[in-house]
């Protein structure tokens, strides 16, 4: 068995977060977790179909990065996109309705689990094929620089965060984009969610050099390794990268060491990951850890956190009812949205 990679300890001074920030992040993580637990339930009860890839366990990455972005920054995701969409501000109702294929879904029921889009929230979308979302995100980042420099729009300092997995970093598009982003100093974050597996392929079996963050060095951009189960560590790293990007100093590659608590998708038998490995990572649950931190730092007490959890339970229930009660797309609109004029 491969030696477990040691998680980097978070060295920088503790992120100075206020109680308000802390609770906002906590709420976002809880939302991600509860929302997806509900998806699993619906799927196993035969109410939700297709490929559904859950994010349980990785919440510190989505909340750590996206909640450090500005509202008008861009987020690009993958097929594992529900939680990124939620962190980006897409209402739980719209995401859930999309999962039920309803007209009220953020992609009008046309996209489904792997294709959450929201122009309103600058969510560039979920992409079902690995890697293909990275160049698209690069384009959004390019656009910001273009607007600022060519069109004289000083407000165009948006940053784009592109999320993808360890398996994806063996795909050519990743490297092509690292090169272009660094070459043109684009305001972009490459966020690798290294959860050690690409479906049934262990990261070490797929890559000749498992430390992904190191790859940045030969493309001339900073590469940073971070404990992806520690939301404040992720947030601190993200904030620094965002500041650099916003200042026109170029992209950063952030490798978050994390783990998914469920199978690759809800259809995956998940037989290859050892019980040991799962248990070890389960014990690092980013939500429990952050809860402990909030209390320890006196940023919140049990009551407050419980109230948030209850609130989010309500949000998820509401989203579910909304989704279930929403209308299906109108069959007469089968041909709508092919062209821009439709």
């Amino acid at each position: 068995m491969v030696q477990e990679r040691t998680l980097p300890t978070f060295q920088s001074p503790p992120a100075q977060i206020s109680a308000e920030e802390g609770l906002m992040i906590y709420e976002d993580m809880i939302l991600g977790r509860y929302f997806e637990d509900k998806c699993a339930e619906m799927y196993y009860r035969g109410k939700m179909f297709g490929f559904v890839h859950l994010y349980n366990g990785q919440e510190a990455v989505s909340s750590g990065v996206i909640k450090a972005l500005r509202d008008d920054d861009y987020v690009g995701s993958t097929y594992r996109d529900h939680v990124h969409a939620l962190s980006a501000g897409v209402p739980a109702r719209s995401v859930m309705a999309e999962l039920f294929g309803k007209e009220t879904g953020c992609s009008k029921g046309r996209g489904g689990s792997m294709h959450m889009f929201s122009a309103e929230h600058n969510l560039l979308g979920g992409y079902a094929f690995i890697g293909e979302g990275i160049p698209v995100a690069l384009g959004a980042a390019f656009q910001s620089r273009y607007r600022r420099e060519t069109m004289g729009d000083d407000a165009a300092d948006q940053v784009t965060a592109s999320f993808f997995g360890d398996g994806t970093t063996n795909n050519g598009q990743f490297f092509e984009c690292l090169n272009m982003a660094a070459l043109w100093k684009l305001p972009m974050l490459f966020v690798v969610e290294n959860n050690k597996w690409a479906i049934g392929m262990a990261h070490e079996r797929a890559t000749s050099q498992p430390e992904i963050y190191r790859k940045a060095s030969v493309f001339g951009l900073p590469g940073i390794e971070v404990d992806g189960m520690d939301v404040l560590a992720v947030r601190a790293v993200a904030q620094e990268a965002i500041a650099r990007a916003r200042a026109g100093e170029g992209p950063t590659l952030i490798e978050c060491l994390t783990y998914r608590f469920r199978g690759h998708s809800l259809a995956d038998p998940d037989e290859l990951r050892s019980a040991d490995e799962k248990a070890k990572w389960q014990s690092r649950d980013p939500i429990q850890r952050f809860e402990a931190y909030l209390i320890e730092q006196n940023l919140a007490d049990d009551e407050v956190l419980k109230a948030i959890r209850q609130k989010i339970e309500g949000v998820v229930e509401d989203a579910l009812s909304f989704a279930q009660d929403s209308p299906e797309p109108d069959p007469s609109e089968l041909y709508r949205y092919i062209f821009a004029e439709d």
Binding site: G50, F129, G172, G200, M201, P329
Partner: protein
């Protein structure tokens, strides 16, 4: 005879051919330890070792090119596209190198290569996982394109494809893997270039392939009850197409309906209609009818999705309507 799932029929084909010929190997994402997303290579990794059942990184363009290079130098690789759609990333290798290289090299190299995996519209898998690439690849010279549709033909065709000295694009259908059928115990091959007359008949020729064969057969039942006698042909070979078999049928029925799952524009039916026009125009008593998927990315919503592909009911109606046409 043993009742066998289609995915297992494919697995047997690979297993038998790997046992028979040491140069046969499989590569792709999760084909090894995981046993393949649809279990087509289950346990073969344990049996044949990790070089012969090679788990690759997610780098479709390069591992397809690698398979081409291995084929040029004497191996007989089988590339699994976990979903055939992913091979859009390998389009260049498939067209320029698998398809064209032998010609461009003036016959220096042959490329015995099978590229296989699931295509087609599944159950709410979304647009990208519901593609029908046969339409995109049909114009590429030098490729053979095959679509299996039953456990029996799946096994026999895959064995033939592995033994073929040319690059073969081999389409399975994501919704057919769990079809069951009794398969012979003895070895058999099914030829790559022959269409199958699934049901002989006199009234009208229904040409189809892959999963739509089953939609057609579902429509045939009520049609039989109503007294119609359609001939059903499963193309099997999408390139080159078996016009001998089609021609015999058309000369008999003088009426043709094509049922396909790919999109209408530029689909397989388009080419067949054009070739029927070239070859059998005078035999036709009515314009060929094509029933194709709608020209849209497959929507996720279940109802829209089912409207996107042809349903048995539509086939039934189309036959009735065509039979009412006065000649």
């Amino acid at each position: 005879m043993a009742e066998t799932f289609l995915f297992n029929a494919l697995r047997q084909a690979i297993d038998e051919e790997m046992g028979r010929d040491q140069t046969v190997m499989v590569l792709g994402e999760d084909v090894g330890v995981y046993g393949g997303s649809y279990k087509v290579t289950k346990d073969l990794h344990g049996k044949y070792g990790e070089l012969r059942v090679l788990d690759t990184p997610i780098a479709e363009n390069s591992f397809t090119g690698m398979a081409i290079g291995a084929a040029m130098t004497g191996l007989r690789p089988i590339v699994e596209g976990m979903n055939m759609g992913f091979l859009l990333l390998a389009f260049n290798q498939i067209s320029n190198n698998a398809g064209m290289l032998r010609y461009t090299s003036g016959g220096n190299f042959k490329i015995p290569l099978v590229i296989r995996g699931p295509g087609g519209v599944g159950r709410q898998l979304g647009a990208e996982h519901s593609q029908r690439l046969e339409a995109y690849f049909q114009a590429v010279p030098g490729l053979k394109i095959v679509a299996c549709s039953t456990p029996y033909n799946a096994k026999g065709l895959l064995k033939s494809a592995i033994r073929d000295d040319n690059p073969v694009l081999f389409f399975e259908h994501v919704l057919l893997y769990n079809l069951k059928e009794d398969l012979p115990n003895e070895e058999y091959l099914v030829p790559l270039d022959r269409a199958e007359v699934v049901r002989p008949g006199q009234d009208v020729t229904i040409i189809t392939y892959s999963r739509m064969r089953h939609h057609v057969m579902a429509a045939v039942k009520p049609l039989e009850r109503k007294g119609f006698d359609p001939e059903v042909i499963d193309l099997i070979a999408l390139k080159p197409i078996d016009y001998d078999t089609l021609g015999q049928s058309i000369r008999k029925t003088h009426r043709v309906i094509i049922v396909e799952e790919c999109m209408k524009t530029g689909g397989i039916a388009a080419e067949i209609i054009a070739s029927i026009n070239d070859r059998f125009f005078d035999e036709l008593d009515a314009p060929v009818l094509r029933l194709s998927s709608q020209d849209i990315p497959t929507p996720y919503n279940g109802r829209l999705e089912s409207l996107t592909i042809v349903q048995p009911q539509q086939i039934e109606e189309a036959v009735e309507k065509m039979m009412q046409l006065q000649v």
